[in-house]
Point group: none
Chain length 225, copies 2
DNA sequence: ACCCCTGTGACAGCGCTGTGACAGTCGGAG
DNA sequence: CTCCGACTGTCACAGCGCTGTCACAGGGGT
């Protein structure tokens, strides 16, 4: 059903989950440390990662953050603790779901399927923002039914904004997501791209209704109403 | 768009969904109980079933299992509950997708289309893209009725593209699908093959209407209109 | 042995993209 | 209300990244 990477240091748990997930029809590869996991991720490109939080060396949160720097694939965090603080830190590190141990293979499998479906939906369904329709599968954007010719960067920017509708994204975040930069040396890079995108997307680029400026922060994609 | 059977006991929900799906262009028949639904299924042979879990008499899971004993048609389960256990039982009963109520007609429509697409992809029928007809069974491609002499690689490329019509595929993905490579060492391999394919398939290879370039991504097979 | 397919590298053209300067705008402080 | 500073919008331009194209050589099949 899916190609999973399981990162878990406890051998008993790892083996049990691997068997459970394999029995549910998934293809599973495993790693015992964060480093090994990241290496396997690069080499094998799994569809989804199941990641223990308590790991020797770099912990699960850090692994999560590192993965998110370059990859968009779904991550399910696994932990023995159930405090809220963990959930918050986990989701802030970029995880898609959170499962508390002890967990049964069947339940984990259900979460895996749920996250995969969510991912499919987000990545493939059309998103609508007023007159704008974003078809993530075709990688096209239409306005009032007509095709918009967006450049690759404009398209990536719009896609990232549309993945978090109504949420303000800082220039810093956008640089990481769209440009994969880490430094922000006071440049008008993001603004310039937003301007070009607005020119194509907005009815009146000078008073944007979709891509709103959040002063002191960055930008946000709104859907009218 | 599709011929649907909706099985739902609550009259308000049934009517609302029926209207919503009809408005989206589907032909819809309805049943209020599992028994009636199974009877309608045998009599009318719909393309897809939308099935409520909570039904008087035999419940949705059981209906699902009974359908699966004899039929392969897609099933979307509908439920008010969102617990994991439901999802697990649902998918194990043989459902193709799972939607949690309350659901809007538009959302359900998106799922219906997604499930239908998934099914189409596996079909072996002939596919038509403008003047091009791809016969997957005979493994032949004709243009305006005349046979095209495609090389094996060109044919595989066209088949993979046509299995995902309208969907942009990256060079990376195409390499995996057509060439079964994993590495993409900045080569013009995909481009060159696309060029050769275009030369045979397109009316005007220099301004392709079928195999479109998606700048920054890869290629996409469109059917005109 | 021959031929056609296939992968590769080179190359050119196009247009995207980043940059810096400057103008315009907003909001807070006085 | 006014002013000021900080933040954002806008623009033109130069560089270069991306894609289309082509010729060629190796290899596999006939």
């Amino acid at each position: 059903m899916a190609f999973l990477l399981l990162i878990e240091d406890d051998e008993a748990v790892r083996t049990a989950l691997e068997m459970g997930l394999t029995r549910q029809g998934h293809r599973v590869i495993t790693a015992a440390t964060g480093e090994d996991g990241l290496k396997l991720l690069r080499e094998q490109r799994p569809d989804l990662i199941v990641l223990d939080v308590m790991l020797p060396g770099i912990d699960g949160f850090e692994v999560c953050r590192r993965i998110r720097r370059t990859d968009q694939l779904p991550i399910i965090l696994l932990t023995a603790r159930s405090d809220d603080i963990d959930v918050v830190v986990g989701l802030e590190s970029g995880a898609d779901d959170y499962v508390v141990k002890p967990v049964q293979g069947r339940v984990l499998d259900a979460r895996v399927r749920a996250v995969m479906r969510r991912g499919e939906r987000e990545s493939n369904d059309a998103a609508t923002f007023g007159p704008i329709v974003i078809d993530r599968a075709a990688m096209t954007v239409t306005k009032d039914g007509e095709d918009l010719q967006l450049t690759p960067t404009e398209l990536r920017l719009l896609l990232e904004l549309s993945r978090r509708p109504g949420q303000a994204l800082s220039r810093q975040q956008l640089l990481r997501l769209v440009w994969e930069h880490d430094y922000l040396g006071d440049s008008r890079l993001v603004d310039a791209c937003v301007q070009r995108l607005r020119a194509k997307v907005e009815d009146i680029p000078s008073s944007p209704k979709l891509i709103r400026t959040v002063r002191g922060v960055g930008y946000r994609l709104d859907s009218p109403q």
